[in-house]
Symmetry: C3
Subunit: 263 residues, 3 copies
């Protein structure tokens, strides 16, 4: 059953610890979004401690936005621990397709870790399923494939729940496809909003690990509702960004389901 409100309430009640190995650009932002939603972030990337940290977490979020070799090793080590303990793992393949290093690292994580949800834009996901994609830096320009079909194809070929975000988001387990219509165009004017959606996916998965298709769609819907609230008070990307955390904090489990647009 899909109910972002019910899962949000579970997040706030259980305050799951969400371990995030993410890029330098957005660490503060994803931690703050996690806190504003009601979960507990922990950011740790050292090879010396990632396995211990992953073991006590309720979800692991791996984001390859700023890679280097030591970080890749830590991601794999933490991911293997999470896989072994059935802790849900979100992979955000930032910039896959832009450089060989990113594409190969994303593929390697998909191979060696039991990724629960792959959350990316159309270009990144298309790269990983081998479809033709034009990727400029970390912004996806076009993927040359209808996004609902892309999500389904990615889920099937990669054995994950694929969460493809865009103007409308599409989440698929390879059979069903859920379309999420919440959000606001200002999201594209702030860096890290994709990364935040991956972090929030980790929070929702932690609270509802047995239904990753639903959890992933609910997370995007909740984030989209927060963005809609933020946009109503914004004068541009800066005030929108600040209001985004207010919006996450103010999400009301009682009324959230009425505001979500998941089809």
């Amino acid at each position: 059953m899909i109910s972002a409100g019910t899962t949000l309430r579970a997040v706030r009640d259980s305050k799951p610890l969400v371990h995030q190995i993410t890029n330098y650009v957005v660490m503060n932002e994803t931690a703050n979004a996690t806190l504003a939603l009601g979960a507990l972030p922990v950011m740790a990337h050292a090879r010396e401690e990632v396995e211990e940290m992953a073991r006590i977490a309720s979800a692991l979020v791996i984001n390859i936005g700023t890679l280097s070799p030591h970080w890749v090793e830590a991601m794999l080590a933490a991911g293997r621990v999470a896989s072994g303990r059935r802790i849900p793992v979100v992979l955000d393949p930032v910039g896959a397709g832009a450089t060989a290093y990113r594409t190969e690292t994303a593929k390697r994580i998909l191979d060696e870790v039991d990724v629960t949800v792959l959350r990316g834009n159309a270009g990144e996901v298309a790269t990983l399923v081998g479809a033709a994609a034009e990727v400029r830096g970390v912004e996806s320009m076009s993927a040359g494939i209808e996004p609902a079909e892309l999500a389904r194809a990615a889920a099937r070929s990669l054995g994950v729940v694929a969460s493809v975000t865009g103007a409308v988001d599409h989440v698929s387990d390879g059979e069903r496809v859920l379309a999420v219509g919440n959000g606001d165009p200002l999201l594209a004017t702030v860096t890290g909003t994709g990364c935040i959606s991956s972090a929030l996916t980790g929070c929702f998965l932690a609270a509802k690990p047995d239904a990753p298709l639903e959890s992933a769609a609910e997370a995007l819907a909740a984030f989209g509702v927060a963005a809609e609230s933020a946009a109503a008070h914004a004068h541009g990307p800066g005030t929108f960004h600040a209001r985004l955390y207010d919006g996450l904090y103010q999400l009301d489990p009682e009324t959230l389901d009425e505001r979500t647009r998941i089809a």
Copy 2:
């Protein structure tokens, strides 16, 4: 004598350089808080330059929130320089107790560096004095010991001024305990507010190095007052966060003492 207003005026008059070796998540935030207060932050972590930078600073803040081996070496090198020159050192043991790597690194810094003030939450500080503590990630859940006594015990056993922050903060030199009642619950909804309190402790110590118990308590009180001002204009964690820097900037040395609650 305790007077946050007098010390704040001294900070603004002397604009001390505060060297911060801190975690990736909060670097921007602690630098901005330092600037908003009226001091000068400098962030430098390379083994190649930390000693030179520590030498020209008026205080050193070491924060272990995102560790890796090269950073630990730089922290120790900078700390030894500061110790040798009687430059005050603040240690923020983020996540001590959550992983062995963090606990051991914090202990090693306490052993090898002349730490002036240890600023942490109850779980982190309790871990370091060996008390039973439950630590989840970097959030302290409970420490099983009354915080005023924890501060006193930490100060005695570790030979530091212990600054234990929470709903009420407790600062002790092993004899006296000062309780600071300023602050707002929204502080817990923004990541890095503990790290900011450590950075501001460094600023106050730089201006009043000979009375670290008082400086540490004044820093927390000033930050708490800024948080109270911020909360009055906030709609949630995002606007509170932005207003926090406004609040630090607007702190008035003339009226600050009337607003601080240090007992």
Copy 3:
């Protein structure tokens, strides 16, 4: 011809990819400023991918605010690729003069890379031309030389366009000197505003690579106008910071030239 409005329109039309190898403190901020202006940021620093990324970018911005050896190698590698392909390069020598490591790294980049624009404060630039300067941490205290002359001297001796920012900015190609009068004192209360001006210089250079003197001055003027708009809505550094991105986003190519003060 100088027209910040025309170049801004070109930025928004072409959405150039601006590769930034910058410091940990300001990555989020420079990426967001780039997006708010209308260009596309990409942050990548790994030796494994910087050359590939530099190759697809329209400008490269190198900022030495938090150095370490691996990063220096990546900066040089990316810089050499950009030089070979006549992609404009901006160097921000953060903290040159504060430590030998920073000064030497900045000089090494100037030697080995074809730097188009050197954007720094008076103390940093003076250090690099061998003039006496007092630099505390990353803040320039005084340069002991008139800033217009400093810009001209730096441009001549280093073979770059020198962009020296301060209360009034001075940009020189060694012959002409342009003075930019836009801006607001609140810029000095937020960390990374210098770094943002370097990132925006990269955006303007990408859109108008053949006139770097003009592009560099236009970028500073546009940023200064955004700061003036932000200050009108700010209550201190935090709200000013948020409004700065709003201000960049709201810059209107039609009216920008009327608001810029370039002499």
